[in-house]
Structures are given as structure tokens and as C-alpha cells.
Symmetry: C2
Subunit: 296 residues, 2 copies
């Protein structure tokens, strides 16, 4: 069976086809330009595969994910120039007579990590995936579905207890200043230090401050949702950084809840090469095909 | 059909019987003393009703809610003297050959409010209930189940951005100092002002500080879970206080997400006289009976 994945990012698109074992058969990536040009490239790509069975899209947002909503399938009011109010799903549906699943980038990644985690632990039923990169967001898989009823989560904009050594930093979120994204997204390194994050060694104190905030996000997820696993991806994240995050998390939780072994609870993605969303898309596309078969 | 409810609080127990329309037929309440005495009183109460079909328990905690866990049905490591490691569900099961549902106090209340909200809006499928009283906690109903896989949520212990006029207050949580519960539970009034909360008029600035923190909790719930409604109960909460909370919430959210009309989104309980948990228990007990019937 041939399944399609679109990982639609604000910077680049990754389109891929794969099989029901989530193996990538072919893959392209290209920069995100205008909606018309960028989405047409995806359509042209998938048109090559006449035996394609379904497509799943993991898109940057905010997007409308409620099937009953008027603008279901749209990228809604994104600040990204030209992309607000784009009927992404509608353009795909006009081009393909196939089931197409539509969700957020982080939901796609969460689903991919959930699928991989289940291979190791069949009891896995609740997993949260965070991305800490240019932006910050999270998606949660719970009992096979996604958390988010009035719309998708926007965890990047919660407020946090400020680190005592970071009280003067105003944060960089244009909407909220010092929300999570305003405090820990990639561009905060330059805003704080004048240097890019990748040039700053992990021994620099700014990384302790970052870890304190990311640990609070993990604490919120733990205490609100109690998933079995929290996965961190995105350009800011490394295993060495997560060591710091676990340390701060343990101090914040103070043994109040049992989350099992911290090394298994707060982890890097299982998917190699940022492939979580592509695997998630294949699995969601496969699910669409099966649901269609079961309905018949 | 006769259904039983135990609302097991750290201060008092409320036991009631009611019907499948969630009408209370009989009700007693008594102070929480030792586990043996307090639970036996509940058993003696329900023994009067020979036609009882099922019982549901909404208990203070922390409790073990995972059916596969060794201590399922226990109150686990509560600081309440004498109650740690109490096999609450086991004592009930030894006394009654009936289906017994077991969940947290706030989950019971959340379920009751969900049932009542569905009577007004059949599309209601995700609701969070907070209690702000002696302690602080929340439960979320999502698609008919409860959020919480590794255990139940413990929202009371998240961290918050501190109010600029409250930076010197250390918070009163013995585990975490200035977590949500440490900043807004009922006893914080005395810790901050030397006076009991009920004697402090809503015009006092301490209520603005409280509203800022409670609004952050509502913001976290919104951005992590995106329920359709957030209900606040507990001794600290009043409609006048929630007006302040909505005001702070709107400022924090800054129109980043659409949550509909705020007056319908952040609300007092629909159940009168703190009856949310009793209604939730009746509904959960009724569900247990139906599941048993369907299995046959």
C-alpha cells in the first residue's frame, strides 16, 4: 500500500510516500513560498504515484481541525505572510479523490512517536510531543485520538515562573512577551545574548535557564494530562539539554507524583532524522484507509 | 433504579442514593475521622438500601485509579493522618456485591458538570472542573472518559508567573511552596493577610492577585487541553470572583485563541449546593450498571 505524507512547515515542506510499515519509499523537500506555489508542488509530487491510497497532512498553524467548522482544513490566522486563511485541505481535495487526514505538525509528530513507542510498549496510550525550535508547540495522543476539542492545543503560550537570573528578559512573543515560546524558542538565544544558540556551549548558564522553563512545561503536561511519556524534538533540543531538563523537572516535581524512570519519561524522539511527523502521517493515512474499508 | 454516591472529602463524607435521572432520594453527611470508622459509616448507610444497583466513589487523594495497578482503589500517600495506604475500594467490595466505580473527587465533579452541560448542549464532549478550596485540583472529562493515564491529574502543583505585587509571598504548599495550590488555596488568605478569606471584601487587592493566578490555571487548561468549558467550584469561588478571573484570562490570552463567549467558557457549577460530585457519581454508577448489562 502506498501512503502520502505532507509535513508542512513555515520554512520548508517535506513530502514523502511510504508503505503501511512506515518505510519511506520516496521523499522531497523544498522551501515554503506562496501557498499556491508550495501546495501545487505537493500536488505535482503525489500525482506521480497513481497507486496512492491516502494522504495525511501535518501542518504549521494555527489551523482549523474541527470537521464541523466552516473553515475546516484551513490555515487560519497565521502571522506568516500570504498564508492566513489558506484552504490547504480544499486544494488537496480538489486535486485528489482520496481520503486525506488533516492535523497539526506537532500532532503528526506525536502520532509518529506514539506508533514507535507502542512497538516497544503495547500499553502506551498517552504521549505528548513538544517541539522547541523557531516556535514552541505540543500535541498529545490519548487513546488513539488527539487532545483538543475547541481546537488544537497551543501550549507555546502558557506563562511560567520566571528564573531568578532571567527576570529582566522581556521575552519575544509578539502576542504575550514572556510566554513559553517567548522564553525558550530558538530566536531567544540571540535576543538574550546576541549570539545564535548553536554557538553557545551547554556549559553556558543560559541553558540552565532554558532547562528550567522547559521543565516547567513538562511539569504542566504531567500535572494536567499525565501521559506516559513526553518527547522533545526541535532544533533547540539535544540529549545533553534534556539531561538538564530532567534535573530541573525532578526538583520541581519533588517526588509528588510517580512518573517512572525519568530517562524513559522525558526523551528525545525515537524517529531518526526528524522523521516523527512523516511516520505519524503514514500511520494516520493508513488509519484513514482502514476506516473507509470498515465503513463499507 | 437506585444508585449510590460517596463523596469522600478530607473534612467530610457525603453519602447519597438517587435515581437514573440523578435525583437525590436520600443523603447523609458526617465528619471524616479514621478510615475504619468513616468508611464503615458509608457501608452501614448503603446497607439500608437492598435494591441498590451500583455505587460510585469520588475520593480525596492522591488515589490509585489505574485498574492494572497493584494498589488500585487505594488512597495512596496522602498527608492526611491515618489515611495513607487505605484500601478504600477493597473495603467497599468486601461489603457489597455490586459494581463500584472509583475516581477522584474532582473527576466526579467534572463528570456531574459534564452531564448537566450536555443537557444544554449535546455537543459538549470536553469539560474541566477546578476546585479552589482547602486544596486545589482539577479533573477533565474528554469524550466520556477522564484525562489521566499514568494516574490522575494534580493540577494544583503547576508553577505560575508571579504577580508583581505578590513577589514576597513564599506560598504555603509543603511540597512546592509557590505552586498554584500554594498561592490560591483558601488558607493562603490567612498566610498573606492574617485574616480569613471570607472576611476580606472582593474590592481588596488580594483578590486581584488570586484572580491573576487562577486565570493562569485556566489559560494552561485552555492551551494544553482545549476543553469546551472550564467550571470552577470550591469555597474560594464566587461569580463575582470569576468576573475578575475572566478579565485576567482575556488579558493573558490576548485573543490568541477563540474560546467563544467568556461568560459561557469560565463558569460556576451548574449543580446547586455543591452537588456536582453527587450527580457525577450517580451518572458513573449508572454507566457501570449499563456496561454490565451490555456485557451480558
Amino acid at each position: 500500500m502506498l501512503l502520502g505524507s505532507i509535513e508542512a512547515g513555515g520554512t520548508k515542506f517535506v513530502c514523502a510516500v511510504g508503505d503501511e510499515d512506515y518505510r519511506v519509499k520516496d521523499r522531497i523537500q523544498y522551501p515554503t513560498t506562496t501557498p499556491a506555489e508550495t501546495i501545487q508542488k505537493a500536488i505535482d509530487y503525489f500525482k506521480q504515484f497513481s497507486d496512492l491510497q491516502a494522504i495525511s497532512v501535518a501542518s504549521f498553524g494555527p489551523i482549523e481541525i474541527r470537521p464541523e467548522a466552516e473553515r475546516y482544513g484551513y490555515i487560519t490566522d497565521t502571522p506568516k505572510v500570504g498564508w492566513a486563511n489558506t484552504n490547504f485541505l480544499g486544494m488537496l481535495k480538489a486535486a485528489f479523490d482520496l481520503p486525506i487526514y488533516w492535523t497539526t505538525d506537532v500532532n503528526g509528530s506525536a502520532y509518529g512517536e506514539y506508533i514507535l513507542a507502542r512497538e516497544k510498549d503495547p500499553n502506551m496510550s498517552a504521549l505528548t510531543y513538544y517541539t522547541i525550535g523557531t516556535g514552541v508547540g505540543a500535541g498529545t495522543v490519548l487513546n488513539g485520538g488527539f487532545v483538543g476539542t475547541l481546537g488544537h492545543p497551543e501550549v507555546g503560550h502558557v506563562r511560567l515562573k520566571r528564573h531568578p537570573d532571567d527576570l529582566d528578559f522581556k521575552g519575544i512573543c509578539p502576542y504575550h512577551g514572556d510566554c513559553l515560546e517567548g522564553l525558550v524558542s530558538g530566536p531567544t538565544f540571540e535576543a538574550r545574548t546576541g549570539r545564535k544558540g548553536e554557538t553557545i556551549p551547554l556549559t553556558d548558564h543560559v541553558w540552565d535557564i532554558m532547562a528550567y522553563y522547559v521543565a516547567q512545561a513538562a511539569l504542566q503536561t504531567t500535572l494536567h494530562i499525565r501521559p506516559q511519556k513526553i518527547v522533545f524534538g526541535g532544533g533547540v533540543v539535544s540529549e545533553a539539554f534534556l539531561k538538564k531538563v530532567r534535573h530541573e523537572f525532578a526538583a520541581l516535581l519533588n517526588d509528588y507524583q510517580d512518573v517512572g524512570k525519568l530517562d524513559d519519561y522525558i526523551t528525545m524522539p525515537l524517529a531518526a532524522h526528524n522523521g516523527s511527523a512523516t511516520i505519524g502521517d503514514f500511520a494516520l493515512a493508513y488509519r484513514e484507509v482502514n476506516q473507509l474499508v470498515n465503513q463499507k
